[in-house]
Every structure is written in C-alpha cells, then in structure tokens.
C-alpha cells in the first residue's frame, strides 16, 4: 500500500505577505526573516531591496549611538489638498503603516566612532516624498552639522517632492540646498548616499550635491520618471537608464557601494574628509588614548581578537581599534590635539 504524503509544494497564491517577499530582481520568493539577515539584499541575484529608516539605523550606525532630533515634526496640510483621499488621511495612513511621523528621521550618531549628523529617508512613507517636514529636517541637520562641525550624511530614498504640498514642497529644494551651500562654504563635509529610488526633486537638490556621492547597486536615480522620458522622445530608453551604474558611467556618482560595505566605506571616507578646523585622525594615536580608558582597552582587545579572523578586506582589520568603542573614539576625535591640522574637504 503506497504511502500518501501530504503535498508541501508551495502554491504561489498562498505566500503570506508578511512572511515572504518576491525579489524584484530575479523573482525568487525570499523568506523575510532571512532577508532581514542579509540586509534586504537578495541572496540569489544581489538585488538591493528597499530598506526602512529603522533598519538603516540598525545596520549603518554604531549600536545605540543614534540620538534622534526633531522627532516631533509633523506635516500639516497647507493647501487643503484632496485627491482621491484627503492629504491628512494619507499622512495618518502612512504613519500607521510605518510607525514614523514623516518620510525622514535625523539625528546624531557615530559610524565606527566618527560622529556624524545623519538624515535617513524612508520610502515606505508616501514614497519618501519631500514636503515641509523632510525639507525642514534636512535643513536643520545641515545647520546643526555646521554649528557642531560634524560631517553630514544623507541617505536618500525618495520619489521626489510631495505633490500634496504644492509649490511649498518645491521650495524645499531651495531651503535644503541653501543650507548645504553654507555647509560647503564652511568646509564641513557632506556625503550623499543614494538608494533606490532617488528621483525628482530630491535628486535635483541635496542628493546630487554631496562632496562625495555614493549609490547602492542598481538604484533608480534620475530626474524625470522613466516613462516621462520614454514618452517625450517616443523611443526605447537605453538599458540601465537612470540606474546607479548609468550615473557612475556619466560621472555623477563617485562610487557604487554594496549595502554590506556601506558602513565601512562611509567610515573610511569620513577619515579623509573632515570638517575644517577639526583635527585629522592620527592612526597611531588610537592605542594611547585607549590605554587611558581601561574599559575601552578591554573591549578593543576583545574586538581585535574576534574581529581579525573574518576580515578579508585589509580595511576592516585596520579599522578594528577605532571601531572598538564608539563613544570613546568619538570622544577622542573631539579632544585630540590638533597636530595634523585640518585637511581640505
């Protein structure tokens, strides 16, 4: 008598949305828990899926170092805008879906010990669109970075300006860029990281203006929507149009960085571009300053012993001492004697 096994073949319709995600790159069904472990990068094809602001905080910044600022900023409805749904209802729906107040969060944090002001955008909140709140957060982050002379990092994920706020959202382009110009004049570095997507008014303002522009692989980065471009010229667009690699080819992005390397890459860049007037890091100094802080020394040693083995890139090994204790090394930078002098950003 043949044994009858129940069928375990998955049927496509039955994937619960909260358990599985279909990779937009290769179409594979990915288990969400697994996807979170791989930083939402598809293990099959390497496609970088979109990531929430909170997941960015967890992965990019030193643990526990993020201190949010201006978390209470909330959008209002200056035009009384109603399309198929009133704008205030859209805001509330987005807040419920994401747990965020608006499409960006900003604060101070450390990245491998280097203190930064950082803005993280979240595409899940109304397509990451920039209204007055996002513009205000970017401007305040830039002004605070200037006041405290710490580098600014903005991680963009946005379809562009928020239509529901009309020209007031268009004015955010000028508001944010004006603040960044002051940062540049004062020689405080700004690193722009463009993730999928960075388009429209966000790309045509702060995202394009980094001292250094980084992009995630295959991220959609462009001014006009691809459909608009295709419609305008009534022709096929070149393959890879408006993707990160296209931007790299045409000279508007410095580097394409995979998500797993973004943190160490940012840390490495931040050691080169430092706010004018802030001492350059002294690579030999790390041990000395750690000696004066016994706990830091211990954790640094532990980190080295654990850290050196799985560190194929030479960079990671070299970085180990500095990354041992974020608070301590952040401190060290602030209090280090200005012997190297400022380097031009």
């Amino acid at each position: 008598m043949p044994l009858k096994f129940p069928s375990f073949r998955p049927r496509r319709e039955e994937y619960p949305a909260d358990l599985w995600t279909k990779c937009p790159g290769c179409g594979d069904q990915l288990f969400n828990k697994q996807l979170d472990k791989t930083l939402r990068v598809c293990p099959s094809c390497g496609h970088h899926l979109r990531m929430s602001a909170q997941a960015r905080i967890d992965h990019l910044l030193d643990p526990g170092s993020f201190q949010e600022r201006d978390g209470g900023l909330t959008s209002v409805d200056p035009l009384g805008f109603v399309d198929q749904k009133p704008y205030p209802d859209r805001i509330v729906a987005a807040q419920v879906a994401t747990g965020l107040r608006d499409a960006a969060v900003w604060g101070f944090a450390t990245i491998e010990g280097t203190r930064v002001a950082i803005v993280l955008m979240d595409f899940g909140f109304m397509g990451g669109s920039m209204g007055a709140v996002v513009g205000e957060k970017v401007a305040r982050a830039a002004e605070a970075a200037l006041a405290e002379r710490v580098p600014l990092v903005i991680l963009s994920a946005s379809g562009g300006a928020r239509m529901q706020e009309g020209t007031l959202s268009l004015m955010q382009l000028a508001k944010t860029v004006a603040a960044l110009e002051r940062l540049r004049e004062a020689r405080v570095p700004f690193i722009s990281v463009m993730s999928d997507p960075t388009t429209g008014g966000v790309f045509a303002s702060y995202a394009a203006l980094g001292d250094i522009n980084l992009a995630e692989p295959n991220a959609l980065i462009g001014f006009a929507g691809a459909r608009v471009s295709a419609g305008t010229i009534a022709a096929e667009l070149p393959p890879g149009f408006q993707r990160a690699e296209f931007l790299l080819d045409h000279g508007f992005v410095d580097r394409i960085v995979t998500r797993s390397e973004l943190r160490s890459e940012l840390a490495a860049l931040l050691r080169f571009v430092r706010p004018a007037g802030v001492a350059a890091p002294d690579d030999n100094e790390a041990d000395e300053s750690l000696l004066s802080r016994p706990m830091s020394l211990l954790s640094a040693l532990a980190d080295r012993m654990i850290g050196e083995e799985p560190a194929p890139p030479a960079q990671a090994a070299a970085e180990a001492p500095a990354s041992a204790d974020p608070a301590a090394s952040g401190d060290r930078i602030a209090s280090a004697p200005a012997e190297g002098g400022p380097r031009d950003g």
Partner: protein, 341 residues
C-alpha cells in the same frame, strides 16, 4: 527690511483678474483658463519682454562646457542707467522656433549657461533679473546623461548665495524644478496669469487621479495660480496684464513690468549685500508649515503581572499616536509607487 523696501503684496487698486464669463462660476474652469493663458503660444517670452521693457540687450551664449542651449537666453541689459544681467526661459512663437528652442525645456547646458552668467554678474557687481516660463526641464535621455538634476541643484545653490541682488519674474509657466533652478530671488514677482507648480497639472492628475483628464482638478488642488501663490508667500507681488492677457499686447506688458523691476532693483541696491544674502536665505528657509510636538515618552512598561505589562505596552503605543515600528507592514517598501516628483 526687504519687505518694507519693496512694499510686498498687490499694488493698491488691483482688480480681480478678468476671467472668461463661463469660468467665473467654476473655480476649476477659472484656474484652467489661467493655465491656458500662461501657455498661450503668443505670450511674450524673455526676448519679447526685454525688447519691450529694456533699453539695451546684448545676448551671451554658451555654457563653456558643452553647448549653447536655446531654451534659456542670457545676457547684459539696461533700464535707464541701471545695468544688470538677465537669464530667462525662451519658448518659441511657432512650431519651427519651438523645435529649435525645445519648447522652453532647458537641457543642463541652459542652467550651466545661466550659472556662468550669474557668476559674471556677481564678479562685476551687476544685479540679476530672471524671467521664468517653462513647462519644466527637458526630461530626455541626453539631459539625464549630462546631469540635468545636478545642474538644477547647483543653480539653486549658486542663487541662494549669490552676492548680488536677484529679481525673479514668473512670466508664464513656472514648471517645477526647471523653473526654480533660475527662480531663487530676493523678490519674486508674477504676472497675473502666470502659474507656478511643483509638477504639471497633467502629471499630477495622472499620478494621483490616474488620468490626465483630471488636470484641471489637479491645477485647482495645487493652487497654482499667481494669486494663490501670492497668498502662500511664494510670490511677493503681482503685475496685472493688459486686456485679455499678456499675449494681446507685448509692448504694454513690457511697459507695465519695467517700473516694477526698476523699483525692485533700486530697493535691493540699497541693502548691504550681507543682509541681502541673509534675508534671501531666511526667505527660503521659512517655507513650508509643519507642527512640532515634543515626542511623548512612552510610560514605563514595568508593571506587576502579565496584565499590567500588556497594558503598559498598549498604552505606550497609544500615547505615541502611531503603532510601534515593529508593526510595520511587510513589503510596504517595495509595493509602493513613487509618490513624489
């Protein structure tokens, strides 16, 4: 100080703009008739207006990098004894010219030419006048390849810190970033039938209403008429047009704009440049309302018993007014279409 000097607002005695009678009842039709007037093919552009309102014009060409973009004209001009630099969009007056001028949709070269000439103005102490009339920056593949977004961002940045007075006039269509790129001014003036918007009404309608047929509805919702922009503070002053609109009389339109520009330039010239640049920064810094509630701290969840702990968790969520981050819907990041522009 700038406000006082410039007497911001409508001139006294300003009449409600004439709108076609059928449209007078329906606000949608009223705003749509303005959009049509702003787009009228016979509407005076930068060159026609300069011809009618200035005493001299010497055009300057090229961005020194790649090409000369005919969708933006730039040059040196004069009203009486006041010499200044002008940068403005130029649409065509017929199909042939429109093709040559790309329907007033600049490529990156246009903005880079504008920046070059504005830097020249700063260097030689000349104020700047910009005239805005574009459906938007050109969205073609060539423009993307050569970095139109970067050119717009740089141009906005340059204007935000340019150490010389800038007067901006929205003369026709103020189309999104392609308009703002040369519209960051100390004073922003608009013709009464000009429009200004973050996206074209057709584009807005096709995204939010899923059909371009709702363009008039979108135009109304975005409050893109000059009068609405004045109320929002994006525009400082409105200049009336002659008769049925600027297209009916280029000379008279220029004659009306001339004293307004001259007056603004004179007022700005009296302001020390540091104050001027700071006031310009603050003008744009202040745009966009929001509320700022201190984020409530969730109450401590440490209460006795499992019921107490549950209540603590629930109350914490309630007091935040939004669900905790963990409740975020899976796949939301990827399912959504971009809502911005």
């Amino acid at each position: 100080m700038v406000d006082r000097l410039l007497g911001r607002g409508r001139e006294p005695g300003h009449q409600a703009a004439p709108v076609p009678e059928a449209a007078a009842e329906d606000p949608r039709a009223a705003v749509w008739s303005r959009v049509q007037l702003a787009r009228n093919i016979r509407r005076p552009r930068t060159l026609e207006l300069l011809d009618a309102m200035t005493d001299e014009f010497i055009e300057l060409h090229g961005d020194r990098l790649f090409a000369d973009d005919a969708a933006i004209v730039a040059g040196l001009t004069r009203i009486d004894g006041v010499r200044f630099v002008v940068v403005g969009h130029q649409k065509g007056a017929d199909t042939d010219e429109n093709i040559r001028r790309n329907f007033g949709m600049p490529n990156p070269e246009g903005y880079r030419k504008g920046m070059r000439v504005m830097e020249l103005a700063e260097r030689y102490g000349l104020p700047v006048l910009t005239l805005i009339d574009t459906p938007g920056a050109f969205p073609g593949p060539g423009a993307e390849e050569r970095g139109v977004a970067e050119a717009i961002a740089r141009s906005i940045g340059l204007m935000s810190r340019l150490r010389t007075p800038i007067v901006t006039v929205i003369t026709g269509e103020g189309g999104s970033g392609g308009a703002l790129a040369i519209a960051v001014g100390d004073v922003v003036i608009a013709f009464e039938n000009a429009v200004y918007s973050v996206i074209s009404p057709e584009g807005c309608a096709s995204i939010l209403w899923r059909t371009a047929d709702e363009a008039a509805t979108a135009a109304l919702a975005m409050r893109m008429s000059a009068a609405d922009q004045l109320a929002l503070g994006v525009v400082d002053r409105i200049v009336d047009e002659p008769g049925e609109g600027a297209h009916t009389d280029h000379v008279e339109t220029g004659r009306r704009l001339r004293p307004v520009v001259a007056e603004a330039l004179a007022a700005l010239a009296a302001i020390p440049v540091d104050e001027l640049v700071e006031a310009r920064y603050q003008r744009y810094r202040a745009f966009g309302p929001y509320t700022e509630a201190p984020r409530p701290t969730p109450p401590s969840v440490e209460r006795g018993g499992i019921a107490g702990r549950l209540r603590g968790i629930l109350d914490a969520g309630r007091s935040l007014g939004v669900p905790v981050a963990g409740e975020r819907k899976r796949g939301a990041e990827d399912a959504q279409e971009p809502e911005g522009v």
